[in-house]
Amino acid sequence: MNKGKQYIYTFLLLITCFVASPFMWHKIWKTSADAKKEPAVPVSANVTPTAPAGDVPAATEASTEGSAQPAVNYTAGSVNYFDDALFIGDSRMVGISEYGSLKNADYFCSEGLQASRIATEAVDGKTVDDVLNSKTYGKVYVMLGINEVGNDMDTTISKYSALVSDIKAKQPQAIIYLLANLHVSSFVEDGIINNGNIDTLNSRIAQLADYSTTYYLDVNTVFDDGYGGLNAEYTSDGIHPLAKYYGEWSDWLCANTVSKDGQAAAPEQAEVPQDNAAEATTPFAADATQEAAAETVTTAAANSDSSGSNDYFSEY
């Protein structure tokens, strides 16, 4: 017995590893299978969502009217527009809350937030229902999806549209903006997180917009690199824009607002020209190239590690 005690760590380790190995092997196998998945080809940035009848989930209450995105007369609002706004989203939304210029709005966002888990997720001790019940909002912005882009899309969309219904029920007066998920840079794409999948998800989300109370906005045109991905100069990890670009994002949101009774008559582009003006005069357009060149050792190292599992991305 004395002799056995000397090797207790070896014994404990071997026994626990023996028991756990099937789970570990399964995980290893699954991870390498996911990594081998072919990244989907990205659809071009300005995709107009079409709705083949069979794909639209029956559970959506926000029914689509026709298959093409109707032209909407977005007007430029001021920051005050967001005094009664609620933003719901994941880590990119966290970025907007921390580094954007719309600090007057309310935010329900956290890294890793998913539509499929939002009903039970708490942020600062409150659930999304608590927040929706707490006050009257004039507009609610939703950006979710990147953290579940590898999951079954029908399930994701049905949970997403359940959230939209929930918002409509609790905030019937509010305009709802469904925001497209931002693309990722091509250097981080893999079998699960890639712009093809993101585009597919975004187009399914777009179908939930009815353009009378629910609208779909796509910011990717502002940050894209021309090949359907997030411009590498605007990001370090290929997933989140650098903090200084959340100001631009906020400006773009200001420029694409709908007033309560405003509806389309004259067709107009979704992006107002002043976006391009904002981009051209941005003081850091030149610096952006330097940002791209900045490769810290750890960033490069992090990019080369792609475990590909869904859980890996719960930090976004």
């Binding site: 760590y9 570990m24 003081p283 810290t296």
Partner: protein, 464 residues
């Protein structure tokens, strides 16, 4: 393949150890050699030719070693040939891109070379091979007579990818004969677990803060967050590399090899001079034995001494990376060490509190040069650390450091505590106890949990 991965811990290691344990003693080295080659190939799957290169260098140096030993008259020629052969590959793979970029800048040309992927471990195995043939030439050791033994020595997977740089003399006897005992396996597993804990539970976590800072962008962080970031990086680098060295030691122990310690509480140093006797010890030894001393060390007068230090530090910087920030880093270290040698060293050694404060500033600042390759970005970050310097910032979030301190506080505390001798003193007392076993088991499974969830980080020193 990284040690801190599920593949290594649950597939390669158990399979290898099972075969190794069942193999009779006289074939164990062969199995070690074979297993290490398999381990190496997992890391170069995209470039299988690198396996051939690796085997070629082993064979070549083995032959050179024998020639140097037996052919005394032409030993120097064989040594020269060996050194050129070894360094040629290192220079080609690691530095040709660097040379070309600089040549283009100087000559206004646009020469390009296809992106060369560095064969993993080349910086380490090159230095090992060279130190072997030099030691044979100097008659410090006789040549290894068995190709299998030599192959096992160079390739042994515990130290193949990230050191320590084990000299042949250290393991020559053990290659011929070593005693495998269950006690060594027990201690080896414990040491491995400790190293794994350093890497996964401290280094990888604090690396998250450094990554967060990069994602925000250096122009958008507050000065306090900038300091937090570079201190996090300093801890990450230390625990990453030290963790890996401990894992190497533990794995070696399991095979009855005594792999030398590579770190001796460097962050307790009071001077940079002392620091480099405690950090990456085997690299410092290599430069001392094979460059500094042959050039005369400090025995040929002050001027030559300074020159020798300069050469050593330039090469130390370059060894760490093929870009100018590493050269600058090496030069800054040279400057500090000379400053200590001739001016402030005695004072710092005498008044250790001052020494610690000095190092508290100097360590993160020098790691900054190491961490950021682009000089423009380096300038931005440096100015962020010194907010009284004129600079432009964009969209800095007020109290950002509060958010990140909240997230990373416990890892900073762990980093500080484990940089001191306190944990080791406690460990020595509880080492044999069941409590210690349970504790280490918790550490092990905590690490596995992190790896399982994908919170993993390839080893920082891997570009070598």
């Amino acid at each position: 393949m990284v040690f801190s991965s599920l593949e290594f811990i649950f597939i390669f290691l158990p399979a290898f150890m099972a075969v190794y344990a069942l193999t009779p003693s006289r074939y164990k080295n062969a199995i070690l050699f074979l297993g290490s080659i398999i381990f190496y190939s997992m890391g170069v799957l995209n470039n299988p030719i690198y396996i051939m290169l690796f085997l070629l260098t082993i064979l070549f140096n083995f032959i050179i070693g024998e020639f140097i030993y037996y052919k005394r008259r032409s030993a120097k020629a064989w040594l020269t040939l060996g050194i050129i052969f070894n360094f040629w590959w290192l220079v080609f793979f690691k530095y040709s891109g660097f040379f070309l970029t600089n040549a283009n800048a100087l000559l206004r040309t646009h020469m390009t070379v296809k992106d060369i992927i560095l064969p993993i471990g080349i910086s380490f195995y090159t230095f090992q091979n060279v130190s072997y043939i030099i030691d044979v030439y100097r008659r410090k050791t006789r040549s290894e007579q068995s190709l299998v033994n030599y192959g096992a020595y160079i390739s042994m997977f515990p130290q193949l990818i990230a050191g320590p740089i084990v000299t042949y003399g250290t393991v020559a006897e053990q290659l011929k004969k070593r005693q495998h005992t269950p006690r060594k396996i027990e201690n080896g597993l414990k040491t491995f677990t400790i190293g794994l804990g350093y890497k996964v539970l401290i280094a990888n976590q604090l690396g998250g803060l450094w990554r967060d800072v990069a994602n925000i962008g250096y122009e958008s962080i507050s000065s306090k967050l900038a300091w937090m970031g570079i201190i996090a990086y300093s801890f990450q680098l230390y625990f990453d590399f030290m963790g890996y060295s401990y894992m190497a030691m533990g794995l070696g122990q399991m095979m009855a090899f005594d792999i030398p310690k590579n770190f001796d509480y460097p962050y307790l140093s009071v001077t940079m001079t002392e620091f480099w006797r405690r950090w990456h010890i085997t690299l410092g030894s290599w430069f001392r034995e094979n460059i500094y001393i042959p050039l005369g060390g400090n025995r040929k007068g002050t001027q030559k001494t300074v020159r020798n230090f300069l050469i050593v530090w330039l090469f130390t910087g370059l060894w760490h990376g093929a870009s100018w920030n590493f050269v600058l880093w090496g030069l800054v270290l040279f400057g500090l060490i000379m400053l200590e040698r001739f001016v402030i060293g005695d004072f710092l050694n005498k008044y250790r509190i001052v020494g610690h404060l000095y190092m508290f500033l100097v360590i993160p600042l020098t790691w900054l040069l190491f961490a950021i390759t682009d000089f423009h970005e380096l300038g931005i970050y440096f100015r962020r650390l010194l907010p009284f310097l004129p600079q432009k910032t964009y969209a800095v979030m007020a109290d950002d450091y509060v958010k990140y301190w909240g997230i990373y506080r416990k890892f900073f505390i762990a980093g500080i505590v484990f940089s001191t001798r306190i944990p080791e003193m406690i460990y020595k007392k509880i080492k044999g106890s069941p409590f210690c076993a349970i504790l280490l088991l918790a550490v092990f499974w905590g690490c596995v949990y992190c790896m399982y969830k994908g919170m993993n980080d390839p080893f920082l020193y891997f570009r070598f």
